[in-house]
């Protein structure tokens, strides 16, 4: 018997590629997406990404509704970015129709936008800790996140989908008697910050699992048009709030946060993603404080009556771009309005994960299977709820099966097993 006959040829074994599918439904993923990893041993040598499991045709629907209905639809694109999309969408429509926004409304929009950043980054940090198997840190982080959710509920009435922006202003004020709640939250998070930085960044196991894992080099981040903390972790100083200010950000000096602000060189790994997001929480606290202290007096909206607003919008003609730096990166809305037509003629939405999708490929390459969950989580992906399932039969034919059909199949199986 020689080595070849019992297939001990080490060379072939080492270079053989295996394909491991992850998703669309997988414990490591919070939302549906399918990865097909090509592996050489434990190393990832290729990845194919298939999104679309949560595609609900929102732009198609939006182009068949009036603009105010579409505004509420835009709020429901994502449960976490439920102010980011309306902020970008209202700006796009206001730019297209030439509607002014009163200063006080701009400040209120900014405050809610920054509160969303705080809770989104804390949510992400908790998920990150969970993916590393550090569940006590997850519980601590999500516990302190509740303070922000409570404040949002006290200010707007809702934990998500705040329904604050309307074309030309905001729908609700932040009255003086409620401002102290916001100040309380600011103090709470300021006192916590040192502790959070210590827990996340000075922990040996976090360091070992995240440093030099899931690296997105500077050049790749630029060439692949990545956005948000994902690109800033690679040292790219890109932030819409800094580059092309809008709302109350135009009254402040915002600078894009990179790992250099923490005194370390930017590598673009998962650790740098944590650094950037935690420092951005601190930045958001400062922004909220500035807005509360310098809140201008005045109107909440330039066109308070909804019928008048709809009539103005129906007469409007033109195109506009609205951008907002959401927690995950740049949200971009393009709108073209036609006079006499209620729905937008064109509505294009770009969410941050759309930009960061391709950035996943260099991040995964060369890392190990066990790193898949944390690398997948590192860009803070957002695919939203799944509405259909892809199944592949033995011949590789792909079909789409509705939810009901799967439930039926599941019930049949239960009956079969129970005899």
């Amino acid at each position: 018997m020689n080595n070849q006959s019992i297939n001990l040829s080490i060379g072939n074994g080492a270079t053989a590629c295996y394909t491991v599918p992850v998703g669309p439904v997988h414990p490591a993923l919070k939302e549906p997406i399918r990865f097909e990893f090509k592996l050489s041993g434990e190393r990832i040598v290729g990845v194919d990404i298939k999104p679309g499991f949560a595609h609900r045709g929102i732009e198609y629907m939006g182009m068949r509704r009036n603009l105010i209905q579409t505004l509420y639809l835009s709020e429901r694109i994502c449960g976490i970015c439920s102010i980011s999309h309306p902020l970008a969408f209202t700006q796009a429509v206001e730019n297209a129709a030439g509607i002014e926004v009163p200063p006080r409304a701009q400040y209120i929009r900014t405050i809610i936008g920054e509160l969303e950043r705080i809770h989104s980054h804390l949510l992400w940090a908790g998920v990150g800790a969970h993916e590393l198997g550090f569940d006590s840190l997850l519980h601590v982080t999500w516990n302190v996140r509740e303070k922000c959710m409570d404040l949002l509920e006290q200010l707007t009435g809702n934990r998500v989908d705040y329904a604050i922006p309307i074309f030309g202003g905001v729908r609700r004020d932040i009255p003086t008697e409620k401002a102290h709640l916001a100040y309380e939250a600011i103090d709470y998070y300021r006192n916590l910050l040192e502790k959070m930085l210590d827990l996340y960044l000075h922990d040996k196991s976090v360091e070992m699992r995240t440093q030099n894992v899931g690296v997105l080099p500077y050049a790749d981040a630029v060439a692949l048009c990545a956005a948000g903390p994902t690109t800033r972790a690679s040292g790219v100083k890109k932030d819409v709030r800094q580059d092309m200010p809008y709302l109350a950000y135009a009254d402040m000096d915002i600078h894009a946060i990179t790992p250099e602000d923490y005194g370390k060189a930017a590598v673009g790994d998962v650790f740098d993603n944590i650094v950037v997001r935690l420092l951005e929480v601190a930045q958001s606290i400062d922004i909220i404080e500035f807005c509360l202290e310098n809140m201008p007096e005045g109107e909440l909206t330039s066109i308070p009556k909804v019928p008048a607003l709809l009539a103005t919008l129906q007469k409007a003609e033109g195109e506009g771009i609205g951008r907002h730096e959401a927690p995950r990166g740049e949200v971009f809305h393009y709108v073209r309005l036609e006079a006499g037509r209620e729905p937008p003629a064109v509505w294009k939405v770009k969410a941050p994960t759309y930009s960061n999708l391709m950035g996943w490929v260099p991040k995964f390459m060369g890392d190990e299977i066990a790193d898949i969950p944390i690398i997948a989580a590192s860009i803070d992906p957002c695919m939203c709820c799944m509405d259909r399932v892809h199944l592949v039969d033995g011949e590789g034919n792909e079909t789409v099966r509705a939810k009901q059909e799967l439930i039926t199949l599941s019930r049949e199986k239960t009956r079969r097993i129970c005899g």
């Binding site: 045709g57 701009q106 956005a227 890109k238 201008p296 971009f332 393009y334």
Partner: protein, 175 residues
Amino acid sequence: MIPETILSSFRDALGQALLDEKTIERSVGTRTPQAVYDVWITVDRDAFHQAVEHLCTNFAPHLSVISGDDLEDTLALNYHFSVGWGEPYGEITFTVRTNVPKTDLRIPTITDILPGAQTSEREKQEFYGIAVEGIPDGRNLFLPEDMTIHPWRLDLQEETSKSVKRLVKWETRDE
């Protein structure tokens, strides 16, 4: 970035192929208002690839997304770039528009210049039925692989609504 800098550079580089240009100035800030700019140019399809190449060689753009606009006989594609990022008030949005006739739905890929455009190009292929020539990976991205309708095309709405109705009927059927 000053709009005139980039526009004059494009006038020199493209000449007659630069069909239209407009600059929208907006005022931001409630205390000391400052100007920000949205710049739009329309280029001939034959010079489109050259225009993007010129942009990428000289201005290090970021591509936000490509949007499409169905105008009956033509399909307008808007490539929403932004240039000058990295410093306060340094950025302007720069949209390169090109009109593609419905009878000849083709556009060259720009992934050879800016690899990050691939996601958006794949999306335009499936939703508008336009052929992006030379795209490294042309499979459907968001829609299922076997889906052949192009939902954002206004001239194919009948087909789309049939398909949507079929899907709704299927998903809500009572068993």
